[in-house]
């Protein structure tokens, strides 16, 4: 483990922490433009975080230590997830500890803790949100695993850095399996990040909310951490999508010049992803919660088809 690769790793984590709220702000701005509303500033998420971190945290008097510990665990999981996904360089010392399967496990760990914390105080909304979150999670996880397995079959490894290296080096060819996997991944990330067809991120008090119901009991710095973790999750999913389906532009060696080039490329790719997400959210309507299993079953099916066509056709 050389010094330069450690520097790469640190830079990647810092980039994730700094860019994640910016990505959320960009998606909100694009969505406001597309809906003919005046857009909030790009820096609004940073201001919200700053405000929340300066406020006192109020906890229910029946709250156990679970409620207090969960924001830190969730935030830690998301930071670790962002650390092992190659966004700037493929020379990441941390990525040796966790591969694609462990990445899905990290997301699951965060989900379990945020749901337990939501049920901790015993309010109706928290329990309701936790149940819905688990429903979506148990349907989305297998689909995400299948998507990762498809990419692993193409590159013969479950390690994310190896996947990015092989996929970026391959000849330009049509891979129907990767196209199917990309569609499946889009559906999964919409569901996992509480985006429009499944959940509406713009509402705060509605019977149909999922993510907002989970964090209803939190305030102050705990809420700030959870909001930051949510934007880190969106960043992590965008980074996985870019790593699997558009891996070009990630620096292979830890040279300063390649890193200098990789950062603007990453920002550009994230800007495009954010715009497309806003477009998708504007074009689609929120579906009934009982339609969500069908939506996610489609994702699972597409991902399985991707894997099967990869095995059958070798492409």
């Amino acid at each position: 483990m050389s010094l330069s690769s450690v520097a790469c790793q640190v830079l990647e984590i810092v980039a994730a922490l700094a860019l994640a709220p910016l990505l959320s702000g960009w998606v909100n701005q694009c969505r406001a433009w597309l809906q003919n509303k005046s857009a909030p500033s790009l820096l609004q998420p940073y201001r919200a975080l700053h405000k929340l971190f300066n406020k006192d945290s109020v906890l229910a008097d029946r709250a156990s230590s679970m409620l207090r510990a969960s924001p830190y665990i969730v935030f830690g999981c998301m930071v670790l997830a962002c650390a092992i996904i190659p966004t700037l360089s493929t020379e990441l010392p941390l990525s040796a500890v966790a591969d694609g399967i462990a990445l899905v496990g990290l997301f699951a760990l965060a989900r379990v803790f945020i749901s337990l914390a939501a049920m901790d105080v015993g309010t109706a909304f928290g329990t309701l949100g936790a149940r819905r979150e688990m429903l979506i999670g148990f349907l989305a996880e297998p689909a995400l695993l299948m998507v990762l397995f498809t990419a692993s079959l193409v590159s013969q490894s479950t390690s994310l850095t190896t996947i990015v290296e092989t996929l970026a080096q391959r000849d330009l060819a049509i891979y129907p399996s990767l196209a199917l996997a990309a569609v499946a991944f889009t559906i999964v990330s919409l569901a996992e990040n509480a985006r429009v067809p499944v959940d509406n991120p713009a509402t705060h008090l509605e019977l149909t909310m999922i993510h907002e119901a989970l964090i209803l009991e939190y305030s102050g710095r705990h809420l700030g951490l959870l909001e930051w973790a949510a934007s880190l999750k969106l960043y992590a999913y965008s980074a996985i999508g870019l790593a699997l389906f558009f891996p070009w532009g990630v620096a292979r060696a830890a040279s300063p010049f390649a890193l200098l080039l990789a950062l603007p490329v990453l920002v550009l790719k994230l800007a495009i992803v954010g715009f497309l997400l806003a477009l998708l959210e504007t074009l689609s309507a929120k579906m009934r919660i009982f339609r969500v299993p069908e939506f996610l079953a489609t994702a699972f099916l597409l991902a399985v088809m991707a894997m099967l066509t990869r095995i059958l056709l070798g492409s």
Partner: protein
């Protein structure tokens, strides 16, 4: 083991065909079902043209032309006319709920792929890998005919099964002899006309297109 661009294109169209077969299974509305069937016909035409170009078989262009006229223009138009006259635009009833159907569909696809892989190893054509996909399309359309209780979706399932068979023929053996192909094309056309008349009769008799009424053999 990547082959050149035509091979990749055939694989792509084959996957699109399979996806459309799945989309038809999960579709609830009759109008969208016809639209999906039209798209499937288009994908079939594209795949046949690519096979014809890659293997320089002029008669495949002809069969692609017949497919285009029949399955992209004529039959969808006929189906539109039938559902306009019958006034069926409502949601289609399925016997099993849709997520279960799709999971059974995945099992069918695995079965078809396993079944086809030893056969396709005997073949030496450019699109031999896609035989499994063609078989899967046939099985999926078959399942669609089983799980739908209304007459119109069953007819569409039958037609899409024919699409799968046609694709299997052009992928595994570069198409059937011209006489056979023309015969099948005419059969399908006459079949759809007769089935159209049949649907009117079913509705006249039972005031509904639900074919479960046909299970009773005697009058009450």
């Amino acid at each position: 083991m990547m082959n050149a661009l035509p091979g990749q294109l055939i694989n792509l169209f084959a996957v699109i065909l399979l996806l459309l077969a799945f989309a038809m299974i999960s579709q609830r509305r009759v109008l969208s079902l016809i639209r999906l069937f039209t798209l499937q016909g288009l994908a079939l035409v594209a795949a046949t043209v690519v096979v014809a170009y890659a293997t320089r078989q002029p008669h495949l262009y002809l069969s692609a032309g017949i497919t285009l006229v029949l399955k992209v223009f004529l039959i969808p138009w006929l189906l539109h006319r039938v559902i306009d006259r019958l006034g069926v635009r409502w949601d289609v009833e399925t016997l099993i709920n849709i997520p279960t159907t799709m999971l059974i569909g995945v099992v069918l696809v695995i079965f078809a792929f396993n079944l086809a892989s030893p056969i396709s190893q005997l073949s030496s054509t450019i699109a031999r890998g896609t035989l499994g996909i063609a078989l899967a399309c046939v099985l999926l359309s078959f399942m669609m005919m089983i799980t739908r209780s209304k007459a119109v979706p069953q007819v569409i399932g039958f037609l899409s099964m024919e699409n799968g068979l046609f694709f299997a023929a052009s992928a595994a053996t570069y198409g059937m002899p011209m006489v056979v192909e023309l015969g099948i094309a005419l059969d399908v056309l006459v079949g759809i006309l007769i089935l159209g008349v049949f649907m009117f009769h079913i509705r006249e008799q039972f005031d509904s297109l639900d074919i479960r009424h046909l299970e009773k053999l005697k009058e009450e």
